[in-house]
């Protein structure tokens, strides 16, 4: 039984972007805060603290998660990918080339969600894209360019697959 007690902080290992990191946490600490303040992984952004906006999205064991809605201790033993672990990916290029970025604050969350989607459902139809992407709010773009970026990525994924 994993235990983390209230009075003292404990050292735990987190597997982030393929590397193991020691973090010193309270059981009440949220994954978002640990990533940002202990590991300097500030790509995940606080937006609502409530799981409503997706700005803090990271990928945990292949699934998009609101890191504001996860205790850090829940992430022990899982594989976490943040935007920092996704350098030079075609997704980032697609967001740039489709002009899907303005203030940029929602961008890492969108990209992480899009990354998980393209890995899970490269054949995603419009309905699935919409279902997934509705988890993220953007206030600048009006979503059209983001939609185009997501579609570009899925197309690239499809093109990359060997013919069956």
């Amino acid at each position: 039984m994993i235990v983390s007690n209230a009075t003292d902080k404990t050292v735990k290992k987190l597997l982030i972007n393929g590397q193991s990191h020691d973090v010193v946490i309270r059981s009440a600490d949220l994954l978002l805060d640990t990533l940002r303040s202990q590991l300097g992984l500030t790509g995940a952004k606080p937006g609502c603290g409530n799981g409503d906006c997706g700005a803090c999205a990271v990928v945990v064991d292949g699934k998009p998660m609101h890191s504001c809605l996860s205790l850090t201790i829940e992430a022990v033993g899982k594989s976490i990918t943040t935007i920092e672990g996704l350098q030079d990916s075609p997704i980032q290029k697609a967001f740039i080339e489709n002009w899907a970025i303005q203030c940029g604050y929602c961008t890492p969350g969108f990209i992480m969600n899009c990354y998980a989607l393209s890995e899970t459902y490269p054949d995603a139809d419009d309905e699935t894209i919409e279902e997934w992407m509705q988890s993220n709010l953007c206030r600048c773009t009006g979503y059209q360019e983001i939609k185009e970026a997501v579609k570009t990525i899925l197309q690239i994924k499809k093109d990359q697959r060997p013919a069956q």
Partner: protein
């Protein structure tokens, strides 16, 4: 013929996107420094009450608490227009969410726990829960001391003994006589509640006070120099002792233009001996403790001939400023000075009131009163067209404002200071296919319909608003662009780089744009608001480039043994006009020229340019007379909706924006702004509103319950086009465009849905329930 084209007019990739796409760019809340202390606020749980007592005993027992600051630490009022707001409430609270105390603690969770343990005893007062109530005869008075508040700018007229924070008047022509002569008249009332900017990045700041007295502020502000001004004006700190740093900002929409949390962080830092203190709002605080977006109740009366020539207009605006006037006092003025919309109306009577209520206080929102104003104007134009049996587009064209007309404040409009309203609406009409099927029955329940709106706006900057640009060179001949314009998503820094690159005829990639603003070394800039940066900073950038060219030529003339007049710049070289092969690269002259024998001349090139507004005046108190803005941008918007008769739900299909933005410097970036603006306007109009209970407590201060348009709910298509009537004063003929996409969106949506549902929809947000309710009340 175009006299530009190297980079201006091209869709250059934004300079900020690689950092943003990789999550590497740092926003102010991303900085963590060991030893940083955290401030947490105790906020009011009442909307209007006397503070009887504040007990901090239990809060002090929380480990890590270093200071608790109460209102008596600074019992004075601040404000950008009328100083009516204590940064921390003392004696009285005037809205739910108002800061009462600041906890400073080692860690955020300790501060938060301590904040929850502060016990405040209130004596509740009757609340003012609407502008109508505030304006009524028996309303509780929210500011007993209204007559004693300091006016920070001249155009603010509070009425002591009432809840009127300011009253702005427009009196143009002879309204009463003209009105009496009108053959057709219409009167209509519109209203909507306060709402929020909801930028994705919540407001955040850190402040430290160094032993030498320097106050160092990091903030996500649109107005770094205003922070300096506020700390100087109200806190008696030498203005030169305040240094403000601003990295890129995660969206603002006007909400980060005013100064609210920095004074709190300053008081917090002061309470712990000047240590660095961070104050980062959680979403709930960002929505109601920090300033929000105005509500309005307005009545519009228009009078015209039978043929639809509008002769007279009367406008009464009750603006819900919430508990403090802040920028709502300026919006009250802005709505008055553009009250007619882009129509030639010779006789105008306008009373614009900035009303206190016990709601969260409001500040500027993208469009500065114009999206709100335009909703009323353009809904009325549609109704009037119906009454006059004229096509709504025809009525608008008939009355559209043109050079030779005057604005409500009697500014003379010329071909140089106003865009082409008629051309905009004609183009919008084409894009939305106005003449085809204004209403179509798709099936027995689904109606497709269209709505259109025309709009204008001038930017009411300070009359001495200004900007500056400094260009320095690297040893390789590339250059650095320094300017205090804030990058908040609008792409302003890219456009400035384009202006410089165009003037210098060089590759834009050889310009390094400094994204961060530091008030200590960047030249002063008024603010990054009011769609003014392309104009003000753009003109400064042009002059800075010209200054650099002059210096480059001077040194190159020595190196190339010719006169400066013989020289031209291009491709990061200075060359002889008559023989372009004969040239010297920038890198050999930008740090001075070194002769083969080692002697050097010229010195480094530093290009400096500044620009200040000219010929603007305040408004006359009784008539509004004055030259209030440098130019008016005009535009037209339209939307097609698919509305379901049976359940009153709807989908947005095509959304059109046509703007006369003067020369469009970067088409893709400009389209981004138009789409994003339209989206913001449609989201506000269709779903956004604060909900207050009978005690004026905000019911939905979070994204769970304050709903915005999500992915997939946006219009299926945005169509954007520009009319490019060059602005004589603008850099390469450009006008400001940042706010414009938002302005006519609510009106166009209101018009299309009113047509679809065959009822007059005069309130926002346009949720299906509102349509259902309106239909029910009108018996349809």
């Amino acid at each position: 013929m175009k006299y530009y084209g190297t980079t201006v007019g091209k869709s250059e990739q934004r300079v900020d996107v690689v950092g943003k796409a990789t999550g590497k760019v740092k926003y102010v809340g991303d900085y963590h420094v060991p030893g940083l202390l955290h401030a947490k606020l105790v906020t009011s749980t009442e909307a209007h009450a006397w503070i009887k007592s504040i007990d901090t005993t239990k809060a002090w027992e929380v480990p890590g608490v270093r200071a608790i600051v109460l209102g008596d630490a600074f019992p004075y009022h601040i404000g950008p227009i009328l100083a009516d707001r204590p940064p921390l409430a003392f004696k009285k609270v005037r809205y739910y969410g108002e800061p009462i105390a600041i906890i400073v603690a080692d860690s955020e969770h300790q501060g938060k726990l301590a904040a929850s343990l502060v016990e405040v005893e209130y004596e509740p007062l009757p609340v003012v829960n609407s502008v109508k109530q505030a304006f009524g005869p028996d309303a509780p008075i929210i500011h007993e001391d209204l007559g004693n508040y300091t006016k920070i700018i001249s155009n603010v007229y509070p009425v002591p003994g009432t809840n009127i924070g300011s009253h702005i008047k427009i009196r143009k022509g002879d309204f009463a006589t003209a009105w009496a002569a009108c053959e057709e008249t219409i009167s209509a009332t519109y209203s909507f509640n306060l709402s929020d900017h909801a930028a994705m990045e919540t407001r955040s700041t850190s402040v430290e006070i160094n032993p030498d007295g320097k106050v160092v502020v990091h903030s996500c502000t649109q107005s770094p120099y205003t922070i300096k001004k506020v700390l100087n004006q109200f806190f008696n700190i030498e203005v030169g002792d305040v240094v403000v740093h601003v990295p890129v900002v995660g969206g603002a929409f006007g909400g980060k233009g005013t100064v609210q949390l920095e004074p709190l962080a300053y008081l917090a830092s002061k309470a712990v001996g000047g240590k660095m203190v961070k104050l980062q709002y959680e979403r709930e605080e960002d929505m109601i403790t920090a300033p929000c977006h105005i509500g309005v109740d307005m009545t519009i009366k228009l009078g015209a001939t039978k043929e639809g020539e509008i002769l007279a207009g009367q406008y009464t605006f009750l603006i819900d400023a919430g508990a403090y006037t802040d920028q709502a006092a300026g919006i009250t003025r802005a709505m008055a000075l553009d009250c007619t919309g882009p129509y030639h109306i010779p006789h105008v009577w306008c009373d614009s009131y900035c009303m206190y209520t016990n709601h969260p206080f409001a500040t500027s929102f993208r469009g500065y009163g114009h999206p709100e104003l335009t909703f009323g104007i353009e809904r009325t134009m549609d109704k009037f067209a119906k009454q006059l049996k004229i096509d709504p587009v025809v009525l608008r064209l008939k009355n559209a404002i043109k050079p030779g007309h005057t604005s409500p404040t009697q500014s003379i409009l010329t071909a140089h200071n106003i865009g082409d309203a008629a051309k905009c609406i004609e183009r919008a009409k084409e894009l939305i296919e106005w003449d085809q099927n204004k209403e179509t029955l798709v099936d027995e329940n689904i109606v497709r319909s269209k709505g259109i709106s025309l709009f204008w706006k001038t930017s009411t900057t300070a009359t001495n608003a200004q900007a500056g640009v400094v260009l320095t060179f690297e040893a390789d001949g590339t250059l650095n662009l320094n300017c205090a314009a804030i990058e908040l998503g609008q792409g302003t820094k890219t456009v400035l780089a384009q202006i410089v690159a165009e003037k210098l005829q060089m590759n834009i990639n050889d310009i390094h744009v400094n994204m961060e603003v530091n008030t200590q070394y960047d030249p002063h800039q008024w603010r990054t608001v009011a769609s003014s940066t392309t104009f003000l900073a753009g003109r400064a950038a042009l002059l800075a480039a010209e200054d650099a060219i002059r210096q480059l030529k001077k040194t190159a003339a020595i190196a190339l043994q010719c006169s400066e007049e013989d020289l031209e710049v291009g491709g990061s070289r200075v060359y002889i006009k008559s023989n372009p092969q004969h040239a010297i690269p920038f890198k050999d002259v930008s740090y001075g020229y070194k002769f083969p024998n080692g002697h050097a001349v010229g010195g480094q090139v530093v290009g400096v340019g500044t620009y200040i507004q000219k010929h603007l005046t305040p408004m006359d108190k009784e008539t509004g007379f004055g030259d209030v803005g440098p130019w008016w941008s005009v535009g037209a918007q339209a939307i097609e909706v698919e509305w379901n008769k049976r359940d009153c739900t709807y989908k947005m299909l095509r959304a059109v924006t046509v703007l006369d933005g003067g020369t469009i410097l970067n088409p893709r970036a400009a389209e981004q702004q138009m789409r994003g603006g339209m989206f913001l306007g449609l989201s506000w109009a269709s779903t956004e509103s604060f909900v207050f209970d009978e005690s004026a407590i905000t019911q939905n201060p979070n994204f769970r319950n304050y709903q915005m348009i999500r992915f997939g709910e946006q219009p299926t298509e945005y169509l954007v086009d520009f009319v490019e009537t060059p602005a004589a004063d603008g850099p390469y003929g450009a006008r400001g465009i940042g706010e414009y996409g938002v302005i006519g969106a609510a009106a166009a949506l209101g018009n299309s849905l009113s047509r679809a549902a065959d009822v007059e929809l005069d309130h926002l947000p346009l949720i299906p329930e509102l349509i259902w309710q309106t239909k029910k009340e009108s018996g349809r």
